[in-house]
Symmetry: C2
Subunit: 636 residues, 2 copies
């Protein structure tokens, strides 16, 4: 692809604008500690201190540098979409500062440089050293691709070269890996942009080494003289290092770590043509998406360890479902698509993009959820076991991973639309965009126009510079039960899809056009009967968008609303509401409590009264008066 | 009453036998560290060390003495019911040992005597010093009443006298109280048995002082130079000392502490004729029983702090519902009945006795639950937020409060049947027993025969030594919607009940008899619509017994069982099952998963297949193959 597609989509363009106008500037202020009342970041100051240009102590988490990296990465994507000389100048200056903070040998990490200069590489398990490097490598790659400027890329190549001299199979090198996966994925990107296979090999080394016995974290902790057991049940499941990656069959442990690792595994399986690694990825994918994923594409059922729990354990009110974990799921799905054109990966990717990722940010880009539960009773957030569930989005977090992670995802949303292959182009997502491809040596321009996700009509134009035979494969979304397809106005049958894609293999000429109409009725979704939490409940979905009830529309005590099975559901677009959304309404009924009396328990016939149910997209919840929220609605 | 009623009831007599034959002997071995594999108690050894008769260190909790006290109290009740010279000899020896462990000034507490002799009364908030004294006073009173032996009573009077010299309003005394209420209730008992009003006054002092500002725990912690905040949210709600007791309107904090305090308040309100204290008790009663109590009469919705949470927050799978808290609720209800003859207190007492208390012990008296949840999915007990929920009863606990507490409750069950008043006798509970009363100076013998709780027919004989006019008031249970009453074979109308009691005011003669037939159909109970957890669900109850589904009868995934609203429920007595219980059966349906396929979510019509639902009494769950359990069943 010649650069990333230019996103013109009204849904995503609005989010990109918010990231550009709100999130990126706000985060820059936050990183510089200029936001009154917000938790101190100190991230930029840490770099100044490391560069010897300021006095003071390191402050923040060991992974404070990664906030800067994620910000830079988001800036890069944003600059690619919307040039902004002032922002670019600010970033260039930051990059120069990073250069001055880099040590002689290429090392770059403000925590260790400032605070523990002699403790480099002594506690990979806990200290996020390679994790931070990974984020900065991703920023460097993105910045280079957006601006053509090599400064940060060179800095990070030097650091990666140094890392390569420290870690590896060879005598005298550390046979280890990071407690928080990230560098594995970043090194593949660095390999792709530099062509230097050393980086791919190093990524492979980290992945292959993981979970081998004798366990690196044991050897490392012994070398430190550390006698305390590791906090997380003393189990390496937390960091997916309990087994060699090829032997892992179920998603366990910290969900963000897991997502980043699985994404890297998919990358390596593709680049190395490694079938057994591909099988491991597919097994883990089946486990996550068929047994451990919420309908919003949230993952991580357990607050303890911010982790996966076990198959079919999907409590709606206790979930962790971190924004970053859904983002990680998008990264992974994107790479599974590279590995294999199968729309089930795109289905999950789309589910995450329209639900569990963007729910992490308010519509104005000013407040964020770390945790994205499927049922919120604000009063219950005072319970100790639900204290991680916040009833309203927060301005900034001490551990500020999610906001910049969302910023970089949204700014780079165009990267998820297409997969390029030698034989043509796969269309994974439908959103307004213009993209240029190089197909069989010829320039091909593809544009999409659509009001997705509110309307399933997509107009695609395909313009090669001269008539060329190639493949356009269009995904028929898993949620779509009926679709119509026309090429240049003529109906094309779509009985035969290949792994969920319609293959249009033909000679394309300038101004060819495709019309795809995806039926988008409201669906009542049921969860697998083994998800006990949802027995007798239904979730509303329309297209890729999962719906929820909010107190502001439906009053208090949402579990008392029952949706009769026979009720007709109506959808209408409300341009005034929440930036323009499709609302779902239905005649439902509500369990009455006004005549119940004080008794807590009694043999009683329930009394219902009619209730006009109003549901809004899950991602848009908590943008009006705060209150209860519920995805899985009682049916009767 | 001349001693406690002799319980002949087949239901309770079996439990009393189990306590006598299993629990008391087992606990004695445990207290003496003679159970292989069990957590070390060291409780008796602590006393030996305190008495100077053994060498060693104190071991266990600061409240380890209370385990001994509760055991002695249970022994006392058991001896009253079933004389046992050998057990009495063992106890007498223990009491002598306690006497030798008592200090010159009357002080008796092995933790402080052995471990911190100079720290007496410096940390009432955390160290359970008066709590232990309270339990030992209760044991002393019970032992004296059972055996007529004064040794332990004298020991504890000396200790109470000493405590009275340390605590009080007067200059130089500590104006404080214990972090764990218990002594307040014990001192009332000591007053009743000794007639010494000093003890009543001291109890009143502790209750009145609680929650006053400047706060005693602040003053105390300042005196200790303690700078750390108190763990429990730094809130004195944990120990109900956040407000003076008369100003408390909602049950908060540690539920066992709360129950013991409310019970003491009810005692004091009665003995002192204190109306505002009575009002406070009634307010708290309304709050607990109408807003914070499970259908099993479990209380404490939150594991954190073993505590109440807030109104209508009654999650079935996260509850704490400690056995001891339900026992405490029985103590409180019993005292509310003394304060006011109102069957609603007896209804709750009965609910606790047949459900949330005895569920804490298996039928053999060998294993115990600390936590009594209403829904158990054993797999989910591995979740960090549900780790307090044990899927099977445990042999013994480190913190062994519940087993001996149950032992003393069951051994003294007869004390809960009647309330004596000057004008007659109130029958609160129906169970087989023989009791002697002194009514208006005359001996009256009352016997009950019944197969309660399985059958609602109760035969009561009333035999005064000579014809006497007095009141017999019979409780019509809240669960009973139709009752028949005959006196000497003649129908008596029961339209007019006074606060739930039928008043039979007449001249009773030898061999008069009452037949009471309480209709006991199976009821489908609904929870108040504000209990969101139970929307769309029903609980089965028959008489006072709440039912549950178990995996062993119903297969896995109990939330997938739906009970149609129209289904007929059938009850039958199964003498072979679980010691003889009434089983409830019904034609229900079960959500099918065999044809669902792998997808986690899809638009699907649910498939149901017929399921023969089988429910057993909640108290009897987990006495066969371990597995899932569920009280609130989905309805459709």
């Amino acid at each position: 692809m010649a650069g990333q597609p230019k996103v013109t989509d009204s849904f995503w363009r609005r989010y990109m604008d918010v990231v550009r106008d709100e999130v990126i500037p706000y985060q820059w202020e936050a990183l510089n500690d200029r936001i009154e009342g917000a938790a101190k970041s100190h991230a930029i100051e840490n770099i100044r201190i490391a560069a010897g240009e300021a006095e003071g102590e390191f402050h923040g988490f060991v992974f404070q540098d990664s906030d800067v990296a994620k910000w830079l990465e988001a800036v890069a994507y944003s600059l690619a979409a919307d040039p902004n000389p002032e922002l670019e100048k600010t970033s260039d200056k930051l990059i120069e500062l990073l250069g001055r903070a880099q040590q002689e040998d290429g090392y770059l990490n403000t925590y260790f440089t400032v605070k523990e200069p002699n403790a480099r590489w002594t506690n990979l398990r806990d200290q996020h050293e390679l994790y931070c490097a990974g984020h900065m490598i991703e920023a460097a790659v993105a910045y280079y691709e957006a601006t053509g400027k090599r400064t940060l890329l060179d800095i990070m190549c030097r650091f990666a070269d140094y890392i390569d001299s420290v870690f590896g199979e060879q005598e005298g090198k550390i046979k280890g890996y990071d407690g928080h996966q990230k560098i594995e994925l970043a090194l593949v990107k660095l390999y792709e942009v530099t062509g230097n296979k050393k980086y791919l090999n190093l990524s492979q080394f980290f992945i292959e080494e993981r979970g081998k016995e004798p366990h690196f974290f044991d050897r490392e902790s012994e070398a430190r003289g550390d006698t305390k057991p590791f906090w997380y049940f003393s189990s390496y499941k937390y960091s997916q290092s309990h087994l060699p990656v090829r032997e892992q069959k179920e998603a366990v442990g910290h969900s963000v770590r897991a997502m980043y690792m699985y994404a890297a595994m998919a990358d390596l399986a593709e680049k190395l043509g490694d079938d057994s690694l591909k099988e491991a990825c597919k097994r883990l994918w089946e486990n996550v998406t068929n047994k451990q994923m919420y309908i919003t594409a949230g993952v991580g059922s357990s607050e303890f360890g911010e982790a996966f729990s076990f198959d079919y354990d999907l409590p709606n009110d206790l979930s962790y479902t971190e924004t970053c974990a859904s983002i990680g799921l998008v990264f992974w799905a994107r790479r599974m698509l590279n590995l294999e054109a199968n729309s089930s990966y795109a289905d999950v990717m789309e589910r995450a993009l329209y639900n569990g990722t963007i729910s992490g940010m308010d519509l104005d880009g000013k407040k964020f959820f770390y945790v994205n539960p499927l049922e919120v009773w604000p009063d219950a957030c005072s319970r100790h076991d639900k204290r991680h569930v916040k009833p309203v989005r927060q301005k900034w977090f001490n551990c500020a991973c999610c906001p910049p992670n969302l910023a970089r995802l949204i700014s780079s949303i165009g990267q998820y639309i297409y997969t390029e292959r030698n034989d043509g182009i796969f269309v994974n997502l439908y959103m307004g965009n213009e993209a240029e491809f190089d197909v069989k040596g010829r320039k091909v321009t593809i544009t999409q126009k659509t009001e997705y996700p509110w309307d399933g009509t997509v107009s695609i134009s395909v313009s090669p510079e001269e008539p060329t035979e190639f493949l356009i494969a269009l995904r028929i979304p898993g949620w779509c039960r009926k679709a119509q397809l026309k090429v240049n106005g003529e109906n094309v049958a779509i009985e035969n899809t290949v792994n969920g894609y319609v293959y249009l293999n033909r000679t394309w000429s300038e101004n060819d056009y495709i019309d795809l109409i995806l039926d988008m009725p409201i669906e009542r979704i049921k969860a697998h009967p083994r998800v006990r939490e949802n027995a007798g409940k239904t979730a509303l979905q329309r297209g890729p968008v999962v719906y929820c009830l909010e107190e502001v529309d439906n009053g208090t005590n949402l579990p008392n609303i029952f949706l009769p099975k026979s009720t007709r559901l109506e959808a209408h677009f409300d341009s005034e509401l929440l930036g323009g959304i499709v609302v779902i309404e239905a005649e439902a009924s509500r369990l009455e409590d006004s005549e119940w009396g004080p008794a807590l328990y009694k043999p009683a016939e329930e009394t219902f009264k009619p209730h006009r149910l109003s549901a809004i997209p899950y991602f848009a919840w908590c943008n009006r008066d705060p209150g209860e929220m519920l995805v899985w609605v009682n049916e009767k």
